[in-house]
Structures are given as C-alpha cells and as structure tokens.
C-alpha cells in the first residue's frame, strides 16, 4: 500500500460510527493526490516516435527531471471522477448563493460551443476565414445593446471584476480627456461587492464609502453630501446586494452627473431586471454584466467568466480594443489604436475576449428570446419573494417590503441561541443544500443572502423552505451542539482555515526520503 493508503486506513474518526478499513464510506471514495499515484515512465498519452532532426534548442535544454507524476488513463479518469463527486453543483441541487446567480446551465450551450467552426479557430487567422465568428460576436453585441438600450459594448473583459476595471479605466480616460486630474474619489456604497472598492483602488482612486439608509438603499442625502469636484464616479450595484432596486436611481444619476462625475453600475444582478428595465434610461454611463451569471455560462468552480461592459455615449469612445465592425466588405476587427480607435483606452486582455462564453451566452439569449428573458427576471424575482414570504416569520428579513432576485436576512433570529450564521449554514449542508451567501453584504449582522434564481421549481423551493424552517426551529430550541458539529455527513467536516493560513501548504512536496533518493 502507498503511504497515502496507509494514512487513510490509520485514520479512525470519532465521528464515524462505522469506521471502514479503506476510509471510503460506501460510494464516497477516498482519493489520494495525483502525485501520490506516481510511477515514473507511466503515461496516459501515447505519442509517436520523435522525428530525428538536429536540435535547435541551443544551450537551452531542460536539465533534470520535472517531477510530474506518471499515471495511466484509467487512473486519471477515476481520479477526477472520484473527486468530482465531492463537489456540490447547481446540477445536483439548489445553489442559493446570493449575488452569484447560480442558474441552470443548458447542455445545448456546451454542445454548440464545441462546434469545430467555433471552438477550433485561431484568434489570428485571416479575417476572411473567421467571418462567422465575427458575426457571432457582432450578434451578441447587438443583443446586449438591445437588452440594455446602451449604444456601445466592450466584449473583451474576462469577468465581472475585469469589466469593472474596464469601466473605471474608461472613466479615467474620459476624465483625462477632460483634463480633470483632480477627480480622485470614487464613491462606493458599503454594501458593495469587494471587487468594487478593489477596482477603484487598483486604478488609483480613493474609495469613499456611502452608507445605506434604513431601507437598504443608498442614502441619497449622504451621497449628495459626498459629491464634489474631486469625485470621479459613483459605483453602484443595481439591484443592489441587499436584493433591492435602488428606487432613487435616476435622482442619483442626476446628482452624480450634476457633480461632473460618472455613474458606474455594477450589473452583476442584471438577472433581476433583464427584459424589464432599460439600463440606458436609468442614467447609467457604464455597466458591466456577467455572462456567467445572467446568461448562464457555467461557473466551472470559479471561472472562466465574461464581463461585457455597456457604455453610454459619454464613454463609448474610450472602449478598449478589439471590437467588431460590420461594413460592406463583411466583418472586421479593430485591433489597434489610432484611426477609428483614436481614443480607445488600449487593450486589456489578450485576443478578442471570451469567445467560448460568447457562444454559450448567445445560445442562451436566442433560446429564451425577448419573451423568455423577460420571464427570467420575473421568475427570479418571484422565487426570491416566495422565499421571503415563506421564511419571514422564522428568519429575520433585514429590510421591509418585497425584494428583487435575492432576499437578505440577518442573524437576529439566531440571537441568544448560540448558533451562528456559519453554524446554520453548515447544518444546511448536511441536509443536502449548498448554503446561501453569508456575512455579505457587510451592512447587516450575520447576513444570509439567498438567491434562488428562476431555475428552481416551486416544489424545489417548498422542500428548501421546509428544511430552513425546520433548522430555524431547531436552532431556537437550543440544540447548539447539533449546529456546531455540522456538517457530519460530508466527505470532509469543518476544515481548519486558521492552520491553513498560518502555515500555508500551497503545493505538494515529495516526502523527504524520496527527495533524498533523487
């Protein structure tokens, strides 16, 4: 047996009522690291003989072994099969992570994204050989512009945060063009996602927080008070991260513009309003959206994403390269500064953006159509409000009234129980549910932010509600230990994050004796 196998079998957990010799728990297998299954010379890829020609590596050939493990294909397949089963996924259950829009990922989109004519094309092929690809990008741009009412879109950002960077850079470029170097403050509500202040700061701005009012929205008076000649922009999320529509948004926009600043909107929550609200009519200058949220491109455990940025006329000239132009000779790309890209802020990513995501998002848009996209927003909002209505007597909603696509609770309902939001979440895991977003937004205590999305059926929500209500009752009856010991039924139980951060082990290292032997 390998060292790893021994380690696993030596383990006798107190929590395991039925310890096994293998460490496996029925269908839940234990799986070592790739590196612990190494046999030198073994490989999972058969390659032909190498051609016999004189080397052109010069003096630059690699010396010595790399240390990669050798496994056969069956081992590799089994490895990933087994570890995949230790993941929760939207495919396996409701994934109510607020602000993340974990919705159904249609398999059609995976299929079309793999058509050789879309997947097997090089970004630097002659444009005559990629007219269909450019048409697709242009069509996607058309949908995005129609859905938002905005005149321009930059497709290249790689994710939401990258879209923010793009948008803030556009604002900076516009201010530079206006020679307004003094505008160094960016106003960001306290409820904002971390990427907002991080983006503003990365671009050299000072981040100035705006408080929320008692209704979970921007405090208009406070905002107005903060506006001034040194303010570059407001970054506002709408619907915001409390799941609420900023009902003063047009006044906010007017105030921002009156102060000579720009209005950046974080559109991560566009799912709540797609097809129902025209972004252009809210007074927004620039907004990113996440194709991996609203338009269902799969999150893939943390990416890749795609964060197109729509721009008002005020900023459109600064959009980064490249972009697609459709003229009489067909489609072409503007890839370089100068000429029609005179004011463009430059390139912010290699190649032309996340084509693989564009295909999926466009397939999603076409599948839904104008009617289905509007229905998405309505069902997403309906589902969140259904959770709110069904849970509000057991949990504590943070703000009065209805919500948009997500519902925010705080931990008041857990007061004096000894159970924390985290404990509550871990008990949900034992019940087969991925927890909601926790402790975000920061403006309420022990936040529980639930976003069911439109993908959940009523029956699914009903089961979820029954479990949450049951757990809340259990917490209130004082069964603290139950919560503190949760989860019990997962491949691993609570993990020691402090240890991980204190003595970071960020990679596998060969065991000392093996290193010595080499």
């Amino acid at each position: 047996m390998s060292e790893w196998s021994q380690a696993v079998s030596n383990f006798k957990s107190a929590a395991n009522e039925t310890p096994t010799i293998s460490g496996a728990r029925g269908l839940q297998e234990e799986e070592p690291l790739l590196f612990e299954q190494d046999a030198p010379s073994r490989t999972g890829v058969d390659l032909p003989e190498q051609p016999r020609v004189a080397s052109r590596l010069g003096a630059h050939a690699r010396q010595g072994a790399i240390g990669l493990p050798g496994l056969s294909e069956p081992q590799v397949v089994r490895h990933y099969m087994r570890i995949s089963q230790k993941n929760y996924a939207i495919d396996t259950g409701i994934y109510p992570l607020g602000s993340c829009t974990m919705k159904h990922n249609p398999r059609l989109n995976e299929k079309v994204a793999r058509l050789p004519g879309l997947a097997d094309i090089h970004p630097l092929q002659p444009l005559s050989t990629v007219q269909g690809a450019l048409e697709l990008m242009d069509t996607l741009a058309h949908w995005i512009k129609m859905l938002t009412g905005m005149p321009a879109v930059a497709l290249s950002p790689g994710a939401g945060a990258h879209g923010e960077l793009c948008g803030i850079m556009c604002i900076r470029a516009a201010l530079d063009a206006r020679k307004e170097k003094k505008r160094i403050r960016v106003l960001v509500p306290e409820s904002a996602h971390g990427t907002n202040p991080a983006t503003a700061a990365a671009c050299g701005f000072t981040v100035d927080p705006i408080p929320a009012n008692a209704e979970g929205r921007v405090d208009l008076a406070a905002l107005k008070a903060k506006l001034g000649p040194d303010v570059a922009a407001l970054m506002l999320t709408n619907p915001n991260t409390c799941g609420l529509f900023e009902r003063d948004i047009r006044e906010i926009a007017d105030a921002v513009h009156a102060a000579g600043a720009y209005f950046y909107c974080d559109g991560a929550n566009f799912n709540a309003i797609v097809g129902r609200v025209r972004i252009a009519d809210l007074g927004i200058d620039v907004m990113h959206m996440n194709l991996h949220k609203t338009f269902s491109t799969p999150h893939g455990g943390g990416g890749p994403g795609s964060g197109p940025v729509v721009l008002a006329d005020s900023l459109a000239a600064y959009a980064p390269m490249p972009w697609v132009v459709h003229d009489r000779k067909g489609f072409r790309l503007v890839e370089h500064k100068g000429g029609e890209a005179k004011a463009a802020l430059g390139r912010i990513k290699g190649n032309h953006g996340q084509m693989g995501m564009f295909v999926r998002a466009l397939a999603y848009m076409m599948s839904h159509g104008a009617d289905g996209l509007r229905q998405i927003a309505e069902d997403a909002v309906l589902n969140a409000n259904y959770l709110l209505a069904s849970l509000k007597d057991q949990l504590t909603p943070s703000f009065p009234g209805t919500c948009m696509h997500e519902v925010l609770f705080d931990d008041t309902f857990l007061r004096d129980t000894g159970v924390t939001t985290l404990d509550f979440a871990k008990a949900m895991i034992d019940e087969g549910y991925h927890p909601m977003t926790m402790y975000f937004p920061l403006i309420v205590h022990g936040a529980l932010l639930m976003e069911p999305t439109e993908s959940e059926s009523k029956d699914s929500l009903d089961r979820f509600i029954a479990v949450i209500r049951g757990l809340a009752r259990r917490a209130k009856t004082g069964d603290v230990e139950y919560f503190q010991a949760a989860p019990r039924l997962t491949p691993r139980r609570r993990l020691d994050e402090t240890l991980a951060a204190r003595k970071p082990v960020l990679r596998w290292q060969p065991p000392p004796d093996r290193r010595a032997a080499e």
Partner: protein, 448 residues
C-alpha cells in the same frame, strides 16, 4: 420555455403566498421611465434545433484549424487534447459549481486546485503558483503590479520579446493603475541589453521565453542584474509545452512567472477563455493576486483543502486587496491539470520533444525555399521566417487554398515596416508530413 420550471398555476400560487396581485407589483421600485413595457425588438424564444442551426450556420462560415494544414501560434497553440479531458471537465459537479467557498462540499475543486498549483510550480521551476488568472496577458500585467508592490517601485522594463498583446495590456494597466512601462523595440533575435535599462526606480524586467519570435534565451545573468538592482525578473511563458524541453524560468532565477496555459487542455476557442498562470517564490506569496488553495485538516484530523490567504483578496480586503480579481479561469485550470496528469513526466517531455522535432523539420524544409529564410538562432516549436515580400498577403493567398500558413507579424505590429516580411510559423505533434509538404509547396509558389 424549457428552462423555466414554473407553470402559470405555480406563478399564481406563489404570488398569492407573497400577497401581491401581479408580478408587476414586485417591480414597483423601477422608475416608470425605465420600464420596458412589452417585448424588446429581439427574436422570440427558439427551440434547441433552431438555435443549433443558427449557430451552426455561423460556425460553418469559419475555417476550422483542424480541417486544414495550420501553422498558427503567436501565443495560442493547437495541440491534440485527449478525449478524457473534455469529458471530465463537462461533469456537472465540476462544470456547474461555484468558487469553492464551502470547502466541505467543494473538496473536488479544491483538490484540483492544489494539484494544479503544484503542477504549475513544477513545470515553471518555481516554488508556488496561484489558482489562475484570466489569461497570460492579464497575468503579466498583474505580475508587474505585484513586483511594484514587492519593490515599492513603479517602473517596468519590458523586452521586445514579449508578445505584443501582453505589452499592450501591461501598458494599458500601467497607464491607469499608475506605473511606467519602458518598452524595448521588437527586434527578432536581438541580444537585448535590458540590464542596462534597470535603475533604482525599476521594479521589474519582463522577458518572454521562448520569445515572441520563437527565440530561446537564458536570462540567468539578467536575473542577477535585476536582483543586484533591487528589481525582480518576470519571465513570461506563452507556450507551456516548451517547459517539457526548455530550461524553466525557475532555473534562471525568475522571481515571477506569468504564463498562458491554453496550450494544455484547451483548444484555440478563437482566443478565449484561456488560462493565466502565475507562479513565484514562497516568500512573495502574500503579495500574489488571485486565489490560493492550501492544505489543512478537518475537525476529525483528516487532510483536506481550503482557499487560503484570502486576506490578500478583494472579498476580504476590499480596497486594500492585492488585486480586484474574483472569478478566474478555474475550469481551464482543471483542463490543463487533467491534460498534464495524463501526460505525466514521460508524456510531457516527449510531447515537447516531438513539437521541437516537427518544428525543426519544418524549418529545414521551408528554409530550402528560394528567397525564404529562417530568422531564428534557436527555437522550440515556433520560428520566424523572412519572406521576400510582405507576409500578410501571402498568408491571405494561402488561406484561400485552405492552408493557414502562420501569423504575419504585421497582424500584431501593423505600423512597423521592418517586420512586414516576417511570418511566425508553428509546428506541433498534430503537424503531419502532408501538412508540411502542402505548406512548402504553396509557400514556394506564393513567394515566387
């Protein structure tokens, strides 16, 4: 609509529970002026068959690289990806999960990341790697920002060997983030004196190996010069397969490696999504951007994995974060990791050797064409040809014959006349004898 589970009756029942008469009531906060009444002027919902046909029609207008002899590289490389890779990354448990914030139900993704980080560290010869960036170009820009933080300086010296997209992105970031980029001219096979440009304001020098023109260089001396001046050496790798044959940055004294992982596990995908790699020394890790996965134990003492050192990241540190990156390229990292796991040491080094061998054979063949010369003194799987005339029209002409001859340097440097006749040509394990013969014949005819 097939993706929406509610029936009309469900919606009615739910509205009743909520206590509102219509769905419109839930949108009451929207200013009237911004409400969309009725439907937008976009097509209505379509079935799978219709959508597949429409996108299939667009796909059919493109020339798939695999359907013809193809020699493009310049930062994006076409390799054979084993079928198991694409199968495994499509498993719903990987494909449709979120960032592994709840480690108890995310050990799958977390173990993948721990293994990925280790693989990247091993092939680059570095100590640690992060969980990925958007792509090579943004990784390069973030590496400079990281060097700026580590050195508390704000000037980057950038080699002419760096891919022009990486140069452009770094420059754009520099302009808005606030650092200076000193760009050396792109000169094929130049022996650049970058050390000479390093001063006490220089945070880092950025080089690429193999270089944009395919050349190989040993940057050990440059690393030493940097370190002497208090600067860091950033080495960019755009073709990770080269690391199976070529001396890795870690062995040259690199402080940060920024790379593009696309060549392993992913296809071309018209340029994205690809995979930003970032590796460094252990002592620099707290200034790294992006996610990191670390080993720990659970309450029962069993080994497990978590995202760690998040005190660098935006969701914890907000405006003080090392980067604003959140979503990265996790699924691409998975594909990369599976491909490399399948290859293993033996397969990876052999793949590199074959790539090199094919390129060498191709270079010999093309150099034999009258008027055509190979510019390189050394290369891995990509080299630069000098043609007796501008390269772009030649490439267009060959494309009409369904041969994708390579990347004319002018596509990336349209304003540099001196590079106009240069053509980047790449070979790989997918290049056949017939492919080479077809290119040689067509090129000979085109330059005649």
């Amino acid at each position: 609509m097939r993706y929406l589970p509610h029936t009309a009756a469900d919606r009615q029942a739910m509205l009743a529970t909520i206590g509102v008469p219509t769905i419109d009531a839930l949108f009451a906060d929207v200013p009237a002026a911004a409400r969309i009444e009725g439907l937008l002027d976009l097509p209505r919902a379509q079935g799978e068959l219709e959508v597949e046909r429409a996108l299939g029609a667009m796909a059919a207008k493109n020339l798939a690289a695999g359907s013809c002899p193809s020699f493009l590289g310049a930062g994006v490389y076409r390799h054979h990806v084993p079928a198991a890779v694409d199968h495994l990354i499509q498993r719903g448990e990987f494909l449709t999960s979120y960032t592994p914030y709840q480690p108890e139900v995310s050990q799958g993704t977390l173990q993948v990341l721990f293994e990925f980080q280790t693989q990247v560290a091993l092939i680059t010869g570095m100590e640690v790697a992060n969980a990925s960036m958007y792509d090579g170009a943004t990784s390069c820009a973030e590496a400079v920002m990281m060097a700026n933080r580590l050195t508390r300086r704000k000037r980057a010296v950038v080699s002419g060997s760096l891919h022009p997209h990486y140069r452009d992105v770094t420059q754009t970031y520099g302009r808005f983030v606030g650092f200076e980029t000193r760009l050396a001219d792109p000169v094929p096979m130049a022996e650049e004196n970058l050390a000479g440009l390093v001063d006490d304001q220089t945070s880092c020098v950025v080089v690429q190996n193999p270089g944009f023109f395919g050349e190989l260089r040993d940057h050990t001396a440059l690393a030493e010069a940097c370190h002497k001046a208090g600067a860091l050496l950033i080495v960019v790798v755009t073709e990770p397969v080269s690391l199976g044959a070529v001396k890795p940055p870690g062995a040259m004294g690199a402080d940060i490696v920024a790379g593009e992982g696309q060549a392993l596990g992913m296809g071309l995908v018209f340029g994205g999504p690809h995979l930003g790699l970032l590796a460094t020394r252990e002592r620099f890790v707290r200034q790294m951007p992006g996610r990191l996965c670390g080993e720990t134990v659970d309450v029962d003492g069993r080994r497990g994995y978590v995202l760690t050192l998040s005190a660098r990241e935006q969701h914890i540190r907000r405006e003080k974060a090392t980067s604003n990156i959140c979503t990265n390229s996790n699924l691409c990292a998975l594909a990369f990791s599976i491909h490399l796991a399948l290859l293993g040491e033996a397969g990876f080094t052999r793949l590199a050797a074959i790539n090199h061998g094919k390129a060498a054979a191709l270079a010999d063949r093309l150099a034999a064409i009258p008027g055509v010369g190979v510019v390189n003194d050394s290369f891995f799987n990509e080299f630069t040809l000098r043609l007796p005339k501008p390269a772009a029209p030649v490439v267009d002409r060959l494309a009409r014959k369904r041969i994708l001859a390579g990347v004319p340097v002018s596509r990336l440097y349209p304003r540099r006349k001196e590079l106009r006749d240069l053509l980047l040509v790449t070979a790989s394990e997918t290049t056949t004898e017939q492919d080479m013969a077809a290119l040689a014949a067509a090129l000979e005819e085109a330059v005649r």
